[in-house]
Subunit: 212 residues, 2 copies
Amino acid sequence: MSTVANKKLRGEGLRQRVLETALGLFSTRGYFNTSIHDIRREADVSIGSIYHHFGNKEALAKALYDDLLERMDAGLREVMEREQDCRARCDGIIAFLFQAATEEPRTMRFVLESRHREFLPDEPPVCSSQPFMRMRECIEQGIASGEVRPIEIPVAATAAFGGAIRLVHLHLDGVLEQPLLRYLTSMQDTAWRAVATDSSNPTSNTIKETEE
Amino acid sequence: MSTVANKKLRGEGLRQRVLETALGLFSTRGYFNTSIHDIRREADVSIGSIYHHFGNKEALAKALYDDLLERMDAGLREVMEREQDCRARCDGIIAFLFQAATEEPRTMRFVLESRHREFLPDEPPVCSSQPFMRMRECIEQGIASGEVRPIEIPVAATAAFGGAIRLVHLHLDGVLEQPLLRYLTSMQDTAWRAVATDSSNPTSNTIKETEE
DNA sequence: TAAAGTAGAATGAACGTTCGTTCTGGTTTT
DNA sequence: AAAACCAGAACGAACGTTCATTCTACTTTA
């Protein structure tokens, strides 16, 4: 049974259907366990169409990868624009990650879990991609403004978001008892404790009533 | 050029050579980009020998995976035995991860980075494997003893070790400026701040004299 | 002690299948 | 009419695997 409507499509619509189908197959079976013929069958298009639009399998994966990274980055840009101080931004980023992992697990699986370098050898590692650079940047500014302790950037960035990212992995692997979003505020608080300066860190109570 | 000596081997020696070669190829090119013929060539053994010892490609990967997980687990068991309080154990675990990633990057890459479920479909996710369960257990005991704040176990465990694990990923991806071990004490301190109870958390000084 | 026998480890050519890709011929759009 | 798009049969290289055979080390027989 196909996950997409079976009305015959052409042009951009067809292209999108192929991308959608490829995302589904790549994220569940993996790139190497998915053949072009599999995609053809499930998307209900022809081999010729796929090669007309994408050229080859690797380019199809790259198009999908770029598309998803751009969408993720758009989400993060939105957070960075909406929130101004570092704490609010970190919270927003984690919330965005959790929400995306909940609503679009396939996207998250493909971006976060698959080893892109195995099938896109010329692509830089994910951690150098825009979304991840944005997280790093957020932390850098936090250090500059004094909200974050002055420690090495890579340590601060991984400490701030590494826990959340690992929790997303556990969620995608299906080993969490509770829905991911149930852990959100707890994770935000815990992550912030790791990197916050002592003055901006709660010392004996975890309840924060006021915005700063 | 082969990375192993080229004296003809038989029995267990041959088996080990195949495993060693497979680790090298799997961890750099990935499972699907490595053919049995590649392993045969680099290990300087025959196709038949490989099938005699392992049965098929998947079983070879599984044998390697089990072997490496067991070795990692042995390292963690040793830490848990040597250290008694939760803080020292967390520090020890992170130190072990960093050291292993530095000295045996291929092992770490294969255990941490490759998507096992793509080629070992019946294997549970890495996060359910012994080494990861041991980390979780350590945190559970920390909560019981009052050293760790009473928060959800998955949040505490990922917060305690997620940052370190992500930093290991950055190291393996070659995007860190400094050697991984240069970040060790900073990462240990930062990770502990995330999960420690307020009483056991440093509030205004970051300097802690520890032996290295 | 030498010869014959035996188990199983090692070998590599060959096989069937799958895969990514190409190609030719048709259809739709402009 | 030209250009863009779609269809799917056909192709050839590469892959995991098999299997008949050879080789090696050890045991038994004479």
